[in-house]
């Protein structure tokens, strides 16, 4: 059951081989056994979870079940869920009980899935290691000395350690793909605008996008069918006809043109990751695909551009945390100004404060043109690189991360080193393109390597097809970390 696909779980539920209550109970039991080690979950609400499972069982019994009815799903603690504490990994929201559902949560509720709990994350989704959580770091199930990646590290760990069959994540600069890569699972960030941001605690509005994390591309397609949908409450939500993201899963790959960006295989990429990625590409050739070299010449600029734009938006998005209407208020203060400054100084962690400072600076008087405006112009050049490349290929492939999972504490004292590890994922967010990561081998240290697949706008079904065929030919995605087996 731990390795069952979502389709298999749904079939078991529909066939009454297991009830949703039993299924949720089993995963809750595993969470309780494993979470003390991994710290993947920050909030559980067992009673509510079982109540939802009970309701799902009733739906199934009444013949009103949908494809995922009764399946437990863990949610990144960035999605507001009515009545659930929603912290975004921050002390600032340590006591915040959301009074409403995010659109994503609403859609999962309507699909009959069961909320298994809220997963740990880097504070306000700012980080690549999950060390920036107020609730402590998450451990990588493949090696507890290693980070699980971030910012959706709790979700990645929960799926990798089989504490949840699937989870939601958000990706602003790689926060779904990088932890998926580092924990050996699959994750997809859809085209910007497909998943509503309503109810998702904002980090950088023009880049944030929710997406699913699971064991396989097939699972992702089912989850995407639930998550994607127009939402009138998000002005950037796109109005498009609904599609079945699993419709092309089985399509053969003969004739597929895979673009390999020269810049993604250059200095900085560790040799073991490159070896694994090349092996995966070799597998694609065997499956009938052709490879073509493409170029994304502005790749190196994506990091500076991102570290101007994302902090700028964040500095403004996080101004609402002032200790007035909700959230943390410092216990002692002299006056209003002091209350603001102390509440924010104490409520936010160091990385969040650093980014607020960067963002405030680049927007401030006299610096806007040199930083913010220049970054927006470069953003266009970066997006153009991709549209040029897609004239020559159907999907782009490369590593998700330059290395396998690094050790806890290894980069946490040097923000610049940490930022550089996002080199292959960031440009995708800047362009608004869909990107995914699937497991493709292990590094010299035995830790997972992720293969990144980047598609053109709205080509999620194609990407899932590409990923699925690989997963049928290989078993990297089915491997389970030793530690997870300890959960019984």
């Amino acid at each position: 059951m731990l390795n069952s696909s979502l389709k298999e779980l749904a079939a078991m539920l529909a066939g009454k081989q297991i009830s949703s209550v039993e299924l949720a109970g089993e995963f809750l039991r595993r969470i309780k056994a494993l979470n003390p080690v991994y710290n993947a979950f920050v909030t559980l609400a067992e009673e509510e979870t079982l109540k939802q499972a009970q309701a799902a069982d009733e739906m199934i019994a009444a013949g009103r079940g949908q494809p995922l009815t009764g399946v437990p799903v863990a949610h990144k603690d960035i999605f507001c869920a009515n009545g659930w504490r929603t912290t975004a990994g921050s002390r600032m929201l340590g006591n915040f009980v959301a009074p409403y559902d995010a659109h994503v949560i609403e859609r999962f509720r309507q699909a009959g899935t069961v909320n298994l709990g809220k997963t740990n994350m880097d504070e306000f989704a700012m980080g690549s290691s999950n060390e920036n959580s107020h609730f402590g770091p998450v451990k990588n199930p493949w090696d507890v000395r290693a980070v699980p990646g971030g910012s959706s590290g709790g979700s990645a760990c929960a799926v990798a350690a089989r504490m949840a069959p699937a989870a939601t994540g958000t990706d602003t600069g790689g926060s779904i793909r990088q932890p998926a890569a580092l924990t050996g699972i699959s994750g997809i960030k859809p085209t910007y605008g497909l998943v509503s941001r309503y109810g998702m605690v904002a980090f950088a509005s023009s880049l944030d996008q929710g997406g699913p994390m699971a064991k396989s591309a097939e699972d992702l397609s089912l989850l995407l069918n639930v998550m994607v949908g127009f939402d009138p409450r998000d002005s950037t939500s796109l109005q498009r006809e609904a599609e079945d993201y699993g419709r092309d899963l089985e399509r053969p790959l003969a004739g597929l043109r895979i673009g390999l960006p020269r810049e993604y295989f250059a200095a900085g990429l560790s040799t073991d990751v490159e070896r694994a990625v090349q092996a995966a590409i070799g597998e694609y050739r065997r499956l009938g695909a052709q490879t073509v070299e493409v170029t994304l010449p502005n790749t190196r600029l994506s990091i500076p551009v991102y570290y101007v734009l994302a902090p700028a938006e964040a500095s403004s998005n996080l101004s609402r945390y002032d200790g007035v209407r909700y959230g943390y208020r410092a216990p002692e203060y002299r006056d209003l100004a002091d209350m603001y400054q102390k509440s924010r100084a104490q409520g936010f962690g160091p990385e969040v404060k650093r980014r607020i400072m960067i963002g405030t600076y680049v927007l401030s008087h006299g610096y806007y043109d040199a930083y913010y405006l220049q970054a927006q112009k470069l953003r266009r050049l970066i997006a153009r690189d991709f549209s040029e490349a897609f004239k020559h290929c159907d999907v782009i492939m490369g590593p998700t991360s330059p290395t396998t999972a690094f050790n806890l504490g290894e980069k946490s004292s040097d923000p610049v080193q940490m930022y550089l590890s996002d080199i292959y994922t960031i440009a995708v967010n800047l362009a608004g393109l869909p990107g995914m990561s699937i497991p493709a081998g292990v590094g010299d240290d035995g830790r997972p390597v992720g293969l990144q697949i980047i598609g053109n706008y709205f080509s999620e079904a194609k990407m899932l097809n590409v990923a699925h065929r690989y997963q049928q030919a290989t078993d990297w995605h089915a491997r389970m970390p030793e530690g997870a087996k300890a959960g019984g």
């Binding site: 009074p99 085209t191 605008g193 023009s206 880049l207 009138p232 002005s235 950037t236 796109l238 109005q239 190196r300 600029l301 500076p304 551009v305 570290y307 500095s315 007035v324 209407r325 909700y326 959230g327 208020r329 203060y333 006056d335 209003l336 100004a337 002091d338 209350m339 603001y340 400054q341 102390k342 924010r344 100084a345 936010f348 650093r354 607020i356 400072m357 960067i358 405030t360 600076y361 680049v362 401030s364 040199a370 930083y371 405006l373 220049q374 970054a375 927006q376 112009k377 470069l378 953003r379 266009r380 050049l381 040097d414 923000p415 610049v416 930022y419 550089l420 800047l430 362009a431 608004g432």
Partner: protein
């Protein structure tokens, strides 16, 4: 460009984040490192390039002028730090 302690204090004030002297020195060191990374942007000539604010080239969707939100202040204020008579309380605002 080189950041100064004065810049750090100014930014911290604009962002309403209390920063003591030791922290200011730390920020100066860290932010200077980050800005040396960011400075790479300045080497590119972007004359004539239209700034990109959004990933999708679409127009704003407008809402019809209808009232659909009910009064939920009790639920909203149940998580507020300090409330009285339906008002959020803050230290005295001086005009």
């Amino acid at each position: 460009m080189s950041l100064t302690l004065e810049d750090v204090r100014r930014i911290a004030h604009l962002a309403r984040i209390a920063v003591d002297e030791n922290e200011a020195a730390d920020y100066l060191r860290q932010l200077s490192g980050i800005f040396s990374l960011i400075e790479e942007m300045q080497s590119v000539d972007t004359t004539g390039i239209e700034p990109m604010s959004h990933a999708q080239d679409v127009w704003l969707r407008l809402r019809e002028d209808e009232v659909t939100e009910p009064d939920r202040h009790e639920s909203f204020q149940s998580v507020a730090p300090q409330v009285e008579a339906g008002l959020y309380l803050v230290p005295k605002v001086m005009e």
